[in-house]
């Protein structure tokens, strides 16, 4: 069956791939194959696809620590992501970065960041590059409601507005900065109003409805492309704990039930109303992610001497291993 407009179906497919991917990340941890437990799942936040769908080839972006879904939506290879999360050489960053530091210059991913707000100002610089080189590239900073507390966001929004840069600030409000609900961290929760105060075009959309996000994001992203920087809040719910080990004891079962009912995948299924087709898509996603996980687990860890690579540009000497330095001292003293 075909739809008059295939895009909503494609968005559903991307959202399903994200969710299935994140479920596999959880399994990777349970199998003992992940590098550590600093794994922040974006389940419940898949409607970000409504914004990323307005991004084009060449556009750049930075993400926070909960950025797996965003990167998948921008074309990431799930196997290389899982390999990175598992600390394997085949990963996007050769096992140096992990879940919180995935990047891929080719796909425009300038880096996931584990410092809250850390990657936000980088899009201002990318915007300067776009302006100075005369491209139509947009750069998007993705962050959470926790990032709304960081001063550097306001510095960056001010610069973007001042210099009319092709930049979008996208706050995926999942209601929690770690264990602190947004009503315990924000004096006034109208985030778009903050952005508007700086001179940005701002919008807020229901994160349980990817089509609503898509509609609202159009003017924001296209406006930015034309030199009117924007801000987008996606109102979502973090289905799971902060990281893999967090069982969210700070929230009630009732709240979680209500929050998880705001499920962008369920909303899309209802709207697309073709269970057979959607089930096929789901099955394809399962198969894809199973294969990706199997391949990632089978991949080899990096050789230990690679730890000295890429501290500096490879054209310059790598840091000297400690054992070599000590061996020199001992030899001279012998």
């Amino acid at each position: 069956m075909t739809f008059a407009n295939d895009a909503p179906l494609a968005r559903y497919r991307t959202m399903r791939r994200i969710r299935t991917f994140e479920e596999r990340v959880g399994e990777l941890f349970l199998k003992g194959e992940s590098a550590g437990s600093m794994l922040h799942l974006s389940i419940g936040e898949e409607a970000v696809v409504g914004l990323t769908d307005h991004m084009a080839e060449g556009d750049t972006f930075t993400t926070h620590h909960r950025g797996h879904g965003i990167f998948l939506a921008r074309g990431a290879d799930p196997m290389r992501m899982l390999a990175e999360i598992a600390g394997r050489e085949a990963g996007y960053c050769r096992g140096k970065g992990g879940s919180m530091h995935i990047a891929d210059r080719g796909l425009g991913h300038l880096g996931a960041n584990a410092i809250v707000g850390g990657g936000i100002p980088h899009v201002v610089g990318a915007g300067i590059t776009a302006r100075n080189t005369g491209t139509r590239v947009v750069s998007v900073a993705f962050f959470g409601d926790g990032g709304m507390g960081q001063g550097i966001l306001y510095e960056a929004m001010n610069m973007a507005a001042l210099w009319k840069l092709p930049v979008v600030f996208c706050c995926i409000n999942n209601q929690y900065g770690m264990g602190t609900r947004v009503d315990r961290s924000a004096g006034r929760q109208d985030f778009p109003a903050r952005a508007e105060a700086f001179g940005l075009r701002a919008a807020r959309a229901d994160g349980s409805d990817v089509e609503a996000v898509h509609d609202a994001a159009q003017a924001i992203v296209e406006g930015a492309r034309d030199g009117q920087p924007g801000f987008m809040e996606i109102d979502a719910y973090r289905f799971h704990g902060h990281a893999r080990m967090d069982k969210s004891p700070y929230r009630t079962p009732e709240e979680e039930e209500e929050g998880r009912a705001r499920d962008p995948l369920a909303t899309a299924r209802t709207s697309l109303a073709d269970d057979t087709l959607l089930d096929t898509i789901d099955a394809e996603a399962e198969a894809e992610m199973d294969t990706a996980m199997k391949t990632a687990i089978a991949a080899t860890p990096p050789a230990s001497d690679t730890m000295f690579q890429d501290v500096y540009d490879p054209s310059t000497p790598a840091p000297r291993p400690q054992r070599a330095r000590l061996a020199d001292v001992l030899e001279e003293r012998a």
């Binding site: 750049t60 930075t62 990963g91 996007y92 960053c93 050769r94 096992g95 140096k96 970065g97 530091h101 990047a103 891929d104 210059r105 300038l110 880096g111 960041n113 410092i115 850390g118 990657g119 936000i120 100002p121 980088h122 899009v123 201002v124 610089g125 990318a126 915007g127 300067i128 590059t129 776009a130 302006r131 100075n132 080189t133 750069s139 001063g151 550097i152 510095e155 960056a156 001010n158 610069m159 001042l162 210099w163 690579q309 890429d310 501290v311 500096y312 540009d313 490879p314 054209s315 310059t316 000497p317 840091p319 330095r325 020199d328 001292v329 001279e332 003293r333």
Partner: protein, 330 residues
């Protein structure tokens, strides 16, 4: 050859780099219309326009952050932080972002930017505008660090810094801007290596930035009884210590002179390396001579007394070589 100032040598380096490469941009507080807090970038806004000489709001973290993003996407930004003391504002962007991006991202994304700033005492600028914070930068793998102590290095090290594929912190000294000298046709030493500023067989003194000049004055006063070898470390991170160790093995004595607070300083690191690598050659322990372990006081008398000068360097050198105890050690 014509004499110029440290300040104009820096300006010349920026002009030449921006003429040669249109991806080079300047950004920072007061770099444009004002011409730079110490006048280094005077005239650059008129010459290159506001897209390349960018006056920023007073937002140090985002200045560095924006420079990082510009560097990641193909420009060669020179960001300016007016005083190195403001490093406290920018250390996340510097140490967690600029320094680590190449590594965290598996070598894919370099950050070819220069962070120009200035530090040091000499203007009674008090505790938050007079520090020497190079150890913070040296303690961070992924950053490069250089500190020019001569007019020629002000030009050549800045040109070299702007060609590096990695982030470079470039710390000028506020007390050197009016110093006169010549810009050599070629650098005094290759990028990343120390320069031997004076030859001598009795004692090695390692220094950099303004203390290099104090050290050279002391060395002149010590001659001919004590012949001092003066090693200008210039590029501190990564530090090529080979020429320094060669020198100490010849002289058997090493004094390290800096302006920074002494505890956990560059001088401490050098002393540790000399101890490890030159143990059998040393006649005396390597000595650190640095700033007192105090915040910088504003009173000129106190400020002067809190850091080494040529006279103190001379005292310590005579003690190390000739066992002449200075009056304050009696």
């Amino acid at each position: 050859m014509t004499q110029t100032t440290y300040r104009d040598a820096l300006l010349q380096a920026l002009l030449d780099a921006m003429d040669a490469d249109e991806t080079v941009i300047l950004m920072g507080e007061e770099v444009g219309l004002y011409g730079g807090a110490y006048g280094v970038t005077k005239g650059m806004l008129d010459r290159f326009g506001a897209n390349r000489v960018i006056d920023t709001p007073i937002s140090e973290p985002a200045i560095v952050g924006a420079a990082i993003g510009a560097a990641m996407t193909g420009l060669r930004p020179v960001a300016e932080i007016m005083y190195v003391d403001f490093a406290g504002m920018v250390m996340d962007q510097l140490a967690n972002q600029a320094a680590k991006s190449r590594y965290m991202f598996g070598g894919q994304i370099g950050v070819p930017m220069v962070l120009r700033t200035q530090g040091g005492t000499g203007r009674s600028a008090a505790a938050q505008h007079s520090q020497s914070l190079e150890a913070w930068m040296m303690h961070t793998p992924g950053l490069r660090l250089c500190m020019p102590g001569t007019v020629s290095d002000a030009y050549h090290l800045l040109r070299d810094a702007m060609r590096q594929p990695d982030p470079v912190v470039f710390i000028e000294h506020k007390g050197l801007y009016t110093m006169k000298g010549e810009i050599g046709d070629v650098p005094d030493a290759p990028w990343g290596q120390p320069a031997i500023r004076r030859r001598g067989g009795d004692l090695t003194i390692a220094s950099y930035s303004r203390m290099l000049q104090e050290t050279l004055t002391a060395a002149e006063a010590l001659a001919p009884e004590i012949e001092t070898e003066v090693v200008d470390l210039r590029c501190l991170n990564p530090l090529d210590d080979g020429p320094l160790m060669d020198s100490v093995r010849r002289t058997g004595r090493c004094l390290i002179v800096t302006e920074a607070v002494t505890t956990c300083s560059v001088a401490s690191e050098i002393a540790a390396r000399v101890s490890e690598q030159c143990f059998d050659w040393l006649e005396e322990p390597p000595l650190r001579l640095g700033g007192e372990d105090i915040p910088i006081p504003v009173s000129p008398a106190l400020e002067r007394a809190s850091i080494p000068d040529a006279r103190l360097i001379e005292d310590v050198a005579r003690w190390l070589v000739a066992r002449e105890a200075p009056s304050w050690a009696a």
